[in-house]
Every structure is written in structure tokens, then in C-alpha cells.
């Protein structure tokens, strides 16, 4: 069977009845896209590889119970879940590392007042709005609409290098503004200097 010719919907249907050929085709069709997305969010190639492996594994393990409308969206959402899980474990392990090396074995102090999520959201938005118009526009296209650098450069008629520059600038400022409020932002923040 020429799996390459089959649509996503058909592949999903075949996957549901344990068709390994369909699984292989989905893997070939989406691996590159997912790899690019994973490399963007993770520090090392090894981490990315492990997360990609888990993403596809989940797809296979849930093949009969899943109800996939849009294969591409499903895979990206699954990848996102794995990446978040990875960072969650990393933060926990940091705590363990602190715990191992601290002489004072007190538990982390609870925040004295409940965290105000609205303030964080507003701070993020305000920072974005205060950026030059083009910069914030490019950031939104990249992060909030998930457009690739190439797509943005085509739509706005600017070279890809310029797009990358604007993204880096917005990240720098956002991370700086939010570094006090979101713990892991500090990690990425420091690495960008």
C-alpha cells in the first residue's frame, strides 16, 4: 500500500486498527516539523530526541482510544505536553539539588500571599505592547500563531535574519521583565547572555 498517498485522516483511521505502516508514514511525514519545534524549546539534541520518542510512543500507545480530528495539531499538542513534563521534572530536580546541598533543611517557604496570575498576564501583555510595533508583531506571529521564521519573512517582506533579530529582542525584554515572577524563566534568561 502506498501510504505516502494517503491523507492524514485516513492514516489516523488505519492507525486506530493497529496498522503499523500507517504509524510509520505518520512518523516520516511529521518528524522533521516536530524536531524543529522541539529543538527550539530544548537545550540539547539528546533531550529533543527523547521527547520526540515519547511523543510518537504516546501516539502509538493511545492509537485505539484517541479521537484525533487534526493530526498535525494533535502531534504538536502532544509534543508540548512532553516538553512541559520535561521542564516540570527539571524544576523538581533543581529543588532536590538545592535540598542536597543546603545545610539548612527547611522546606521552601510558601508564598505569603496567593500568586496573582492576572498581574503576570498583564505584565506580559504590557511589556509586549511597549515594544516597537514591528517587534511585537513579529513576536506574536511567531509565538502566538506559531508561524515559522520563513513564513513571517514572506508575509512581512523582511529578511529571515531580521525576523530572528526581532524575536530575540522581544524574548530578551520579556524574560527580563518576568524573571522575578516565573522561576524557570531565569534559566533561559541567563543562557541568552
Amino acid at each position: 500500500m502506498e501510504y505516502q498517498l494517503l491523507s492524514d485522516e485516513l492514516l489516523v483511521k488505519l492507525l486506530r486498527v493497529d496498522d503499523e505502516g500507517a504509524f510509520r508514514e505518520i512518523y516520516k511525514r511529521y518528524l522533521k516539523l516536530l524536531t524543529k519545534a522541539a529543538l527550539n524549546k530544548l537545550k540539547s539534541n539528546e533531550e529533543a530526541e527523547e521527547i520526540l520518542q515519547e511523543t510518537f510512543l504516546q501516539l502509538w500507545e493511545k492509537r485505539t482510544t484517541q479521537n484525533i480530528d487534526n493530526l498535525k495539531a494533535y502531534l504538536f499538542a502532544s509534543l508540548k505536553y512532553q516538553i512541559i513534563d520535561h521542564y516540570k521534572a527539571q524544576i523538581l530536580a533543581e529543588r532536590y539539588a538545592d535540598f542536597i546541598f543546603s545545610k539548612d533543611l527547611q522546606p521552601e517557604n510558601s508564598s505569603e500571599s496567593a500568586v496573582n496570575f492576572q498581574e503576570i498576564i498583564l505584565l506580559f501583555e504590557k511589556t509586549l505592547c511597549d515594544l516597537p510595533q514591528k517587534t511585537s508583531q513579529i513576536f506574536r506571529l511567531s509565538r502566538l500563531e506559531n508561524k515559522t521564521t520563513r513564513e513571517i519573512s514572506e508575509v512581512l517582506h523582511v529578511p529571515e535574519r531580521t525576523v530572528e533579530y526581532h524575536i530575540t529582542q522581544s524574548l530578551k525584554l520579556l524574560r527580563f521583565q518576568l524573571k522575578d515572577f516565573l522561576p524557570t524563566v531565569v534559566l533561559s534568561f541567563l543562557s541568552s547572555f
Binding site: 522533521k32 520518542q53 515519547e54 535540598f99 505584565l123 504590557k126 524563566v185
Partner: protein
Amino acid sequence: MDLLYIKRAYKMMNRSTFVALLQKYQQKTATDAEKQVVEQWYTLLEEQPRQLPEKEWLELENRLWQKLQNQILGLEATTQTIVIPLWQRTIFKIGAAASVVIVAALGYLFYQGNMTAMRTQGLVRQKVKGMELVVNTTSNILPVTLEDGSKVTLHPQSELRFPTHFTPHQREVFLTGEAFFEITENAARPFLVNAGQLVTKVLGTSFRVRAQPDSPEVEVSVKTGKVSVYERAEPSQVKSNKNGNGVVLTPNHRVTFSTENKLFITGLVEKPAVLANIVVAQNLSFVFNDAPISYVLSQLEKAYSIDIEIDNEGLNDCPLTANLTDKSLYAQLEIICAAIEGGYEVKGTAILISGKGCE
């Protein structure tokens, strides 16, 4: 470009809270605001865009497919081999010994437990230098047994830190979140639970402590035995050998400590339970035949260890004929109050009965 400096109107989210936030997002139980914060944070994760050269890319494609095949056919536990290099890289920056790397790697491995069937426990357990840290990352309550046989029932998203071997003078643990404690009797070695800013000290008993990281209150409720609850002393106060404010709690009582205004508010637990050992020891019976109300109430007081007051001395001699066995405290009170045409009210740690009478 103006840089913004917004005054810190609120505290930074600590890592435990952030982890809990991510967990909520994954389990789709996050509020809209919480979801938005996670998604904003996610947009800020970006490494330098890097391309894989074509050759490397093909190698990756093949290698990964091999691994998937193996995993699907159950031939290889591949995730294990990838995890350790990951942690060597991160922990190495802190300059750790090899044993720490393995512990952390195992911790990471166990932490991934909620993703695959291979690691089903979901109870992350780390042990270093004689101290253990247990984190319940599942959504069920899980039991933890300590060296002295005490049992701690740990609620979801809660963590307990304790020494593998208790010191000779006391048994001390640290709690974040919520847990139910059943502590073995040992007068020579009091058991201390540190939670938030409170210390709960017991000799042998069962009680519950609630100290959630995102809540300004700490709550302790006692089921059996007796506990003393006090504010943890600042290092400067330790010299004068004086602990902060405190209360002593008996069964069916609870105290809520507000960290903001440093107030202890004592009261009763939601569903007071009869103290089985006392009922047996004193041969208490809840079957009454023309018994004066004062006697009935004193039986209840003993059985529940709760103060019950009556506001009208004249009611004391009113007779009651009823079988109150196996009823909840409040149901029992309803029956009594019906007999005297009255009502009851919970006032702090006592119950007040008022009524018209039985003439």
C-alpha cells in the same frame, strides 16, 4: 524603548507552586488565568534556532525509529539510557559527586513515572545523607511508613521530608501540602511535624495537617491522642528556649493558624468521631432509659472529648429515653434537643445546648 519597572505587588511563585501549576495545566484543571500564564511562559522558552545538517537528520530519523520499534515490541527500556547523560550535564554544573548524579538521575526517572507503565509508583523518593524526600506526584493519596512504624498518608501534590533514622531525642519531619499522620506511641521521643510556620508535637496519636504552599493558613485536626501546636521559633528566639504561641489539641478539635495575622483559631473537626478506646475503657453506653440530661451529656463529653455546656441548669434533670448508639454527634444532639425543645450551637471548641425545658 522604555524599560518598565513595576513594583513587586506580590511574591514570586516558588518552584513547588510552579510545578503544581504545570501539573494543573496538563490535567486540564487549570483556570483560564493559570492556563494563560503557562502559555505565556511557554512562549519564552527558546533556544538558539539550530538546524540539523541533512546527514545528522537522517541518522536521527533511523535511530529514533529503531528505538520506537524496540519499545513498541517491548524489547528495550530505552528511556533509562538517555536519562543519565541528561543529568550529568545539569548536575555537573553544580559540581556534584557521582553518587548524587545517580540519585538525581533516578529521581528524574521515577518522576517520569506518570508517563509510562514501566514506572507506576508515581511516588518520587530521594535519599541523600540520611534524609529522605518523598513527593506524591499522583492524584491519589499514598502511604509512607517511617522508621518507627508511624504511618503518613500523603495527599496528592504533597511532599514529606524526614530522616531515615530518627535522632534519639525526637522524631522530626517536614511537610508541604496535606497528610494524615498515625504516630506510634513513644513518650521518650516526641514526634514533630513542621508545616509552614507551625510545629505540631505529639507523643502518640493520629491527626491531620494541612499546609498547602499557596494557602496562607495551616490547619491541624486531631483524631486520637493529644497534640501541641505552636509557631516555629525564629532562630533568635531559640536562645530563650521559648516557642511561639501555641495551643494544645485534643481529639475532635482542630486549629487553623493564619500566617498573615499570626492567629490561632480553634474549633471542632467537621465530623467528630467517638473515641473507641475511651468507650471501651469506661464501658460507655449510649442507650438511655429515663436518664437525666446531665448524665447523657457527660457520657457524650467523655466519648468525644468535647465540652458540652448547657445554658439552663433546670434542664439538667430532664429525662431522656433514647438509643443514641451509632449515630453521629450532631444527630445525637438533635435527639436530645428535641426532648428539651431546644437547640445546640458550636461555639469555638465547645457545644452549647439551650432549651425551654421538659415541664
